[in-house]
């Protein structure tokens, strides 16, 4: 009973149940959905959004948002290909990718934390600015397969016991970020800030420094994710990563990362990303026109938020008398 109570508190539970339900449901209608190749397609296709969703979780738990990640990942995936084709080493180009992401994150974080500007607007602006710079730098150029570092090409094509390496990267990052978010004081501060900003100040949490730090981390991971994007598509142009940010936010919300801050995990964010990817494939397998995919995503977001609201209001107001009886 106590275990059940605990399980019901797990915010990721609805996402996991949804995941299983759609898998089984679709497979019953179309048994081909159960074939290993579908599972493989899901894991392979989800990598980019999953990594960005992990990074996005850092800021969403603080009741903030980072919309610039779509531009950042597109730009760095292009830079990695473009710079390697000019002879830079893989380590050098990955460092550039991280630095570009971290710099955008630092600008976002500074404007939000120290100037008190709303993150929605700040990162909307940097979304355009980074895309604008990208358009200028990448004008008329396209990164093609021959320009992609061979290590990345290899990563994008191969599997480890049937699991795409790209997804293994996701799992590794999820574990590192997950433990950090759960067990480091600095990351716990992010939850406190998102849950009650003014109280966070009062208990002596360095709120501004933490906000800056989280945006830098989101930016850096999103920048590095450019490598995964390049590994997956083997090409990059100024169109890369366009509109991805909203899918990322959707994945977080569906995975139980509360947009109101204070709760949710990177595990949930990955679940959310997988769920969205699964639905994409399920729609194909069920013979539903692909046009419906976006509408289904939208419905899912509303369902996720509605469920969240329902669960949080269902927590009964207890009092010390009631609790003892």
């Amino acid at each position: 009973m106590k275990l059940l109570k605990k399980a019901l508190r797990v915010r990721e539970l609805p996402g996991i149940l949804g995941l299983l339900l759609i898998y089984v449901g679709t497979g019953v209608v179309n048994p081909r959905f159960f074939s290993p190749s579908i599972l493989n397609d899901i894991l392979y296709g989800v990598a980019i959004v999953a990594i960005l969703a992990i990074a996005q979780t850092f800021v969403i738990v603080m009741r903030h948002i980072d919309l610039s990640v779509g531009s950042v990942i597109g730009f760095t995936s292009f830079l990695i290909g473009d710079l390697s084709s000019q002879g830079f080493s893989l380590l050098a180009v990955l460092t550039v990718a991280v630095l570009v992401g971290a710099t955008v994150g630092a600008i976002n974080g500074f404007l939000v934390a120290y100037l008190g500007l709303p993150s929605l607007v700040v990162t909307l602006a940097t979304l355009y600015i980074v895309r604008g710079i990208f358009n200028e730098v990448g004008a008329g150029k396209t990164v093609v397969e021959s320009m992609v570092p061979k290590e990345l090409n290899w990563l994008g094509l191969n599997q480890f016991f049937g699991v795409p390496y790209l997804f293994i990267i996701v799992v590794a990052l999820m574990l590192i970020a997950g433990v950090t978010m759960h067990k480091s004081r600095a990351a716990r501060d992010l939850y406190a800030i998102g849950s009650n900003p003014s109280a966070a100040q009062l208990v002596g949490i360095p709120v501004k420094r933490r906000i800056l730090l989280a945006f830098v981390a989101t930016g850096a991971v999103s920048g590095l994710a450019g490598a995964v994007m390049l590994a997956r598509f083997s090409s990059a142009s100024t169109q890369s990563g366009l509109g991805l940010e909203l899918l990322v936010v959707a994945a977080c919300v569906v995975g139980g990362v509360s947009i109101a801050g204070g709760s949710g995990s990177v595990f949930g964010a990955v679940i959310g990303a997988v769920l969205l990817q699964e639905i994409l494939l399920a729609i194909g397998a069920l013979g539903i026109p692909q046009f419906w995919q976006l509408a289904v995503n939208g419905a899912l977001i509303i369902a996720a938020i509605g469920l969240d609201r329902y669960l949080s209001t269902r927590v009964k107001t207890s009092n010390i008398m009631g609790a003892t009886s």
């Binding site: 508190r9 004081r185 501060d189 939850y191 208990v203 207890s318 009092n319 010390i320 003892t324």
Partner: protein
């Protein structure tokens, strides 16, 4: 309760001024380990400022605070906690999404190496809850906890930092009587663990039931400190008041006309009951009583922003429909609410917009609101109110509290009401502006405006009101004439002390 040793906390001659207001004017406080110490005084006596000095929110200008014989490091809430002083406010601010265990240790989570040790944290927190005899699941999140439970979590937090001084600021104001009893037993446990507990309350019966000692403040000064067993309720009340009040606010003489407002047997379940009075033209009726006695609820019901269950309200002999503020407004009633930031003003908008918003309909020219009309209205009232501002297009959020309050008054006076209800019209504004507001209201009354003035400040109600309606726990306990009213009488009626002075 063996009180022989050195005081754990001693404040001496504390002074603190905000602008021109001397909030603390030589306050003394001596606390001993193992005692529950009541801190008493009227609103504005300086209790809050004193508490905030102990909490590390304010730094005193001069005087000393010693903690166990060492100077107390002031001006940082974190430092105050680290030194072992914890202040628990009436409405605690927990982190709703975090578990109770993490709420207790937030910002200083227990660690094993570099990682947060959740198991240990849950164990320690559970132990502290058990010590206080409170059965709460430390794994649940704080969202949905009652105020009483939230206070308990704050107390646990204080225990977890080994607080030696635990200050509770009016903790019982929002609690049911069962919860109050629970809090009392927790407070006694803390005392037995050798903490010094400071208990701020307006309810004297609670003070007598719980406390060992008491200190009374008035006008920022400590008036006296005494063992509870050595003092009577009436002596405490005398210490709390005892000041000449009549000179502060010169009230202009006013002649009363016909009855404009008649309230009969007004009642609302769980809020107030059997409220009946009449208000005449030119008269100021004061509403006195403790915070939470139902005064605001009554005036809100009269004005129609809230509804009521029984009774009637009539203006000029005509019944007002219940729960319809627009009808009350067209009948000439206006309400200046208690919380001006939330309910009274559009903070980011201009002075002109805020002042004219109540009379917009009159300013409409060919379908749009005349900007010139707005400015004319605002200009007129800015003059009458002696508003201090740079431009009428300034956002009101940038004005001082006093000036904001003047605008709220102005916008309702602009409707040319017959009956004006003001709820705490001078809360949080400086003395100078205060007397200007009083002058303004007094003038309007002289011109025939009927006023209801809800106020928690005794000098204000004694100085301004022609008659005073005293409320206690939702009941109207008396209507006093200006001549028979006194601070002692009002406090006695409002606190329900049976003893008469």
């Amino acid at each position: 309760m063996a009180v022989t040793q050195e005081p754990v906390l001693e404040m001496r001659g504390a002074m603190k001024a905000f602008g021109g207001v001397q909030a603390l004017n030589g306050a003394d406080l001596k606390l001993f380990a193992g005692e529950i110490h009541a801190l008493l005084g009227e609103n504005g006596a300086g209790k809050s400022t004193l508490l905030k000095a102990l909490a590390g929110v304010h730094k005193i200008d001069s005087g000393s605070i010693m903690l166990s014989g060492k100077p107390f490091l002031q001006g940082s809430t974190r430092a105050a906690q680290q030194q072992g002083v914890a202040v628990i406010y009436q409405e605690p601010s927990l982190f709703p999404d975090l578990t109770l265990a993490e709420n207790v240790y937030v910002g200083r989570q227990l660690q094993k190496g570099k990682l947060v040790d959740w198991k240990q944290m849950q164990k320690e927190a559970a132990k502290l809850f058990a010590e206080l005899g409170v059965d709460l699941d430390v794994d649940r999140i704080a969202r949905g906890l009652s105020i009483a439970d939230q206070q308990i979590v704050e107390i646990i937090k204080a225990l977890s930092i080994n607080a030696r001084v635990i200050v509770m600021d009016e903790p019982t104001a929002a609690l049911s009587s069962k919860e109050v009893n629970r809090l009392f037993s927790v407070a006694r446990t803390l005392r037995d663990q050798n903490c010094a507990v400071v208990f701020v309350s307006h309810r004297l019966d609670e003070v007598f039931a719980l406390c060992d000692k008491m200190t009374v403040m008035r006008d920022g000064t400590t008036v006296g400190s005494e063992l509870i067993s050595n003092i009577s309720e009436s002596e405490i009340i005398k210490m709390m008041v005892g000041r000449e009040v009549s000179e502060l606010f010169p009230k202009l003489p006013s002649t009363f006309g016909e009855v404009v407002l008649k309230v009969e047997n007004l009642g609302s379940a769980g809020q107030f009951k059997d409220i009946s009075f009449e208000l005449r033209k030119g008269e100021i009726l004061g509403f006195a009583g403790l915070v939470g006695s139902g005064r605001s609820e009554v005036v809100r019901a009269i004005f129609g922003v809230d509804t009521y269950d029984s009774g009637t309200v009539s203006v000029n002999g005509k019944l007002l429909p219940k729960g319809k503020a627009s009808k009350a407004m067209s009948a000439g009633v206006a309400l200046v609410p208690e919380d001006r930031r939330q309910e009274g003003l559009l903070m980011p908008n201009s002075i002109a917009t805020n002042t004219s918003i109540t009379v917009l309909k009159k300013l409409v020219k060919s379908l749009v609101v005349s900007k010139k009309g707005e400015d004319e209205v605002a200009n007129k009232w800015a003059k009458i109110l002696q508003l201090k501002y740079a431009s009428l297009s300034d956002a009101v959020e940038r004005l001082s509290g006093g000036n904001q309050q003047k605008i709220v008054l102005g916008k309702w006076l602009a409707t040319d009401p017959q009956i004006l209800i003001v709820d705490e019209p001078t809360r949080g504004i400086d003395v100078g502006t205060k007397s200007e507001v009083h002058r303004l209201l007094s003038q309007r009354a002289q011109e025939g405006l009927a006023l209801i003035m809800v106020t928690s400040e005794l000098p204000e109600v004694l100085g301004m009101a022609d008659r005073i309606l005293v409320m206690r726990e939702g009941r109207q306990v008396a209507i006093l004439s200006r001549e028979e009213a006194s601070s002692e009488k009002i406090i006695t009626l409002a606190t329900g002390s049976a003893e008469l002075i």
